[in-house]
C-alpha cells in the first residue's frame, strides 16, 4: 500500500471490514521535568461512516490527547507516541510523512474545539477564516471562496450570513462562534469530525442547538463523528456508542443503549449516578469519592481501585484487561458481572 497517497488505498472502495478510523493500542506520553506523564495508555477505538462515538471522561483522562494525536496537532516534543496505530481507511497516519499528514488534516479529518472565541483568530474576519480552507486547499480565488464561506454560514444557520461574513469573531455570540467553527471544520466535507467538548462553554439551550446541528450535518454527509465530552446528558441523544476513559485507558466500551441501561464498570456507574435528576430534587447529588489519579504516580493494579466501591484485593495488584462482555461491549473491571447486576455499593 502506498504510504503517501491515501486516496489509492484499497480500503477506499469499501473492501474488507476495515473501519473508517481505527485507533489501536495508542500510547501518548509527555516528557516533563517531573517525569514521564503517560497520558494515554493503550487506547483502542474505531469509527465507521455515519457513526457517532462519544468519548467520555473527566479532565486528564486522556480523551483530548487521543483526539489531538489523531489530528496530529500534539506538540512533539514534549509529547511522543511510543506505540500504537491510528489507521484512517487502512493507512496508519503515524507512519505518514509530514506533508501527507497535512493533506489529511482539516480536509479529511477535521476538528472543532471547546472555546470558539479563543479558537478563532481574533484579527481576521470569520469569512476570511472560513474561506481560507478553500483558498489554501482548493486553490479558489478570494471571491469564490468568500461566496463558499457565506454558503457554509447559511448551512450552519447563522442569520444574515451575507451581512455578517465580514464581521470578526468577537462580534458574535458564543453559540454563533461555535457555528462558525463548525462551518470551518466541515468546509471540505471531511470524513471524520472530532468535536472536543463543543458545547462546554455554552449555555444549556444553545448546547442543544449545537448538538442538533452536528447531528444533522452528520446525517447529510455521512461523516463519522467523535464527540469528546464529560457530559453524559449531551451524549444520550446523539451517540451510537460510548468509550469511557479513565487515567489514559478505556474502561468501558459499549453501544449507548447498553451503557444507559446497565453500566459494566464502576466508574461509568458512578458517572451515571452523578447526573442530576428531577425526581431526586433536594437530595444530595452523588459524587464519585476521591480524585482522579496523578498521572505521574499511578495507583497499582486497576487505576480506579482507590475510588472503587467494588474493590477486592486483586484490584490493587492486577490491572484488569478489557474483558469482552458481549459483541461490541467491553469492560476493564474484574468484577463487571457484579457491577452489571447492580449489586449495592
Amino acid at each position: 500500500m502506498s504510504k503517501t497517497s491515501l486516496r489509492t488505498s484499497p480500503a477506499e472502495g469499501g473492501l474488507g471490514d476495515e473501519p473508517l478510523l481505527a485507533v489501536e493500542d495508542l500510547h501518548v506520553e509527555f516528557v516533563t521535568r517531573a517525569g514521564i506523564v503517560r497520558a494515554v495508555n493503550g487506547v483502542s477505538y474505531s469509527l465507521n461512516p455515519g457513526e457517532t462515538l462519544a468519548v467520555l471522561g473527566e479532565s486528564g483522562s486522556g480523551k483530548s490527547v487521543t483526539a489531538q494525536a489523531i489530528m496530529g496537532i500534539l506538540d512533539m516534543p514534549p509529547a511522543r507516541i511510543p506505540k500504537g496505530e491510528i489507521r484512517f481507511r487502512g493507512t496508519d497516519l503515524l507512519k505518514l510523512s509530514d506533508e501527507a499528514r497535512t493533506q489529511v488534516r482539516g480536509q479529511r479529518i477535521s476538528m472543532i474545539f471547546q472555546d470558539a472565541l479563543s479558537a478563532l483568530n481574533p484579527v481576521f474576519t470569520v469569512g476570511w477564516q472560513i474561506s481560507e480552507m478553500f483558498r489554501v486547499h482548493r486553490g479558489m480565488n478570494k471571491r469564490d471562496a468568500m461566496a463558499k464561506a457565506v454558503e457554509l454560514m447559511d448551512r450552519v444557520r447563522i442569520p444574515a450570513a451575507k451581512q455578517r461574513v465580514n464581521d470578526y469573531p468577537h462580534q458574535f455570540s458564543g453559540g454563533m462562534r461555535q457555528r462558525i467553527m463548525i462551518a470551518m471544520s466541515i468546509a471540505l466535507d471531511p470524513e471524520v469530525l472530532i468535536a472536543d467538548e463543543p458545547t462546554t462553554a455554552l449555555d444549556v439551550t444553545v448546547q442543544a442547538q449545537i448538538m442538533e446541528l452536528l447531528a444533522e450535518l452528520q446525517r447529510e454527509s455521512n461523516m463519522g463523528l467523535i464527540l469528546i465530552t464529560h457530559d453524559l446528558g449531551v451524549v444520550a441523544d446523539v451517540a451510537d456508542k460510548i468509550a469511557v476513559m479513565y487515567a489514559g485507558r478505556i474502561v468501558e466500551n459499549a453501544p449507548v443503549y447498553d451503557i444507559y441501561r446497565a453500566p459494566a464498570h464502576p466508574y461509568t456507574k458512578g458517572l451515571l449516578e452523578s447526573i442530576p435528576r428531577v425526581d431526586q430534587k433536594g437530595q444530595e447529588l452523588y459524587a464519585i469519592k476521591g480524585l482522579p489519579p496523578n498521572l505521574l504516580d499511578m495507583p497499582t493494579g486497576c487505576a480506579f481501585h482507590p475510588r472503587c466501591p467494588y474493590r477486592q484485593d486483586n484490584c490493587v495488584t492486577d490491572a484488569p484487561p478489557l474483558y469482552g462482555i458481549s459483541g461490541a461491549r467491553n469492560s476493564a473491571c474484574h468484577y463487571w458481572r457484579e457491577v452489571l447486576d447492580g449489586d449495592p455499593r
Partner: protein, 314 residues
C-alpha cells in the same frame, strides 16, 4: 475616528502646559546667574545687566515669567529668544531635522533588527540560536552608549576605512546624507534593539501557544502559513506600543550620541541650554519632545485599531 483624534489632541493641551511649566520651574530653580555666565570671566556693567534682566523678565516671579513665555507661544507663535538674541525657532529648526533623522534611522534599525532577531529566536526556542541571541541582547543592554559609540566609531569608522580604503560609515557630521546617520543610529538604537528582540521573542512564543494557532494547524495549513499569517499579525500588536513610545526616548536620548558623532542636533543644543540656563531653549526643546511623544502615542493607538479589530474608537 476623526472625533477621537480631536479629543486626543485636546487632551494633549494640559499635558503640554504641565510639562512646560514643570521644566520652566526646574530651570528657574537651577543655581547660578545666566547673565553673569554670558560674560564668562569678564566684568559686566551693572546697568547693562539690569537692562538685560529686565528685558528677559528675570526679576519677575516664576509664574509671571511663565505667563510671558507661554502667552508668547500661544498668541504670537513666539518661542522666545536666546540671551544672544536669536529666536529659538530659528535656532532649533535645522537641529530638529538632524535629531529627527537620527531618531528615525535608529527606529528603523531597531524595528528591523529587533523584530528579525526576535522572530528568529522564537522559532528556534530552546536551541543554540535562541540562546546566542538572548545572550547577545544581554550584552547589548549592558554596554553604555558612551562605550559602544566610541568603540564602533573606532572599529567601523576608522579601522574599517583603513582596511578597505573607502569610508563606509562616516564617523562625524551630517554631510553624507543617510550614510552619516547609520553608525550613530545603530549606537542610539542599541539598547532598544535588545529590548525589542526580547519582546518580539516573548510575544511570538506566547502567540504560538494560543488556541487559534492550534486551530490553524488543525485546518491543515502549512507551518509557514500558520506562523506567517496567523501568528505574526497577533504577535506584532504589542511591539507597536513599544516602538511608538521609543521614538520619544530615542529623540530624548540622542544627547550622548550626537556629542560622540558631532551631530548638530537638539540633544547637543539641550545640553548647552541647560548649561547656560537658557530657559527658552530648554523649554522649547522639551515642548517639542512632549509633542513628539503625544503624536507618537496617538499614532500607536490608531495603529492598534488597524492591527486589532477588537479595538474601535468612537
Amino acid at each position: 475616528m476623526g472625533r477621537y483624534i480631536i479629543r486626543r489632541l485636546i487632551q494633549a493641551v494640559p499635558v503640554l502646559l504641565g510639562a512646560t511649566l514643570f521644566i520652566f520651574a526646574i530651570v528657574f530653580a537651577l543655581p547660578g546667574d545666566p547673565i553673569a555666565a554670558l560674560a564668562g570671566e569678564k566684568r559686566q556693567d551693572p546697568n547693562i545687566v539690569a537692562i538685560i534682566r529686565d528685558q528677559y523678565h528675570l526679576n519677575d516671579p516664576l509664574l509671571l515669567q511663565y505667563w510671558y513665555y507661554i502667552s508668547g507661544i500661544i498668541f504670537r507663535g513666539d518661542f522666545g529668544k536666546t540671551f544672544a538674541g536669536v529666536p529659538v525657532t530659528q535656532l532649533l529648526a535645522g537641529k530638529l531635522q538632524v535629531t529627527l533623522n537620527l531618531a528615525l534611522v535608529a527606529l528603523v534599525l531597531e524595528a528591523v533588527i529587533g523584530v528579525v532577531l526576535g522572530l528568529w529566536a522564537a522559532l528556534r526556542r530552546g536551541r543554540a540560536t535562541d540562546t546566542a541571541i538572548l545572550a547577545s541582547t544581554l550584552l547589548l543592554i549592558s554596554i553604555p552608549t558612551l562605550v559602544s559609540g566610541f568603540v564602533l566609531q573606532l572599529w567601523l569608522g576608522v579601522w574599517l576605512k583603513q582596511v578597505t580604503g573607502t569610508e563606509i560609515f562616516p564617523i562625524a557630521g551630517t554631510t553624507q546624507g543617510i550614510k552619516s546617520y547609520l553608525l550613530p543610529g545603530f549606537v542610539l538604537a542599541g539598547v532598544s534593539i535588545a529590548y525589542l528582540t526580547r519582546l518580539t521573542r516573548t510575544s511570538l512564543v506566547e502567540t504560538l501557544r494560543s488556541d487559534y494557532i492550534r486551530t490553524a494547524t488543525a485546518k491543515g495549513l502549512s507551518r509557514r502559513r500558520v506562523i506567517g499569517r496567523h501568528g505574526l499579525r497577533n504577535a506584532l500588536i504589542p511591539l507597536v506600543t513599544y516602538l511608538g513610545a521609543d521614538l520619544g526616548n530615542l529623540m530624548g536620548g540622542a544627547v550622548i550620541t550626537e556629542t560622540i558623532f558631532n551631530l548638530p542636533g537638539i540633544g547637543n543644543q539641550l545640553y548647552q541650554g541647560v548649561y547656560l540656563r537658557e530657559q527658552p531653549i530648554v523649554v522649547g526643546i522639551v515642548t517639542i519632545l512632549v509633542l513628539v511623544y503625544i503624536v507618537a502615542n496617538l499614532v500607536v493607538d490608531l495603529m492598534y485599531a488597524v492591527l486589532d479589530p477588537r479595538i474601535r474608537y468612537e
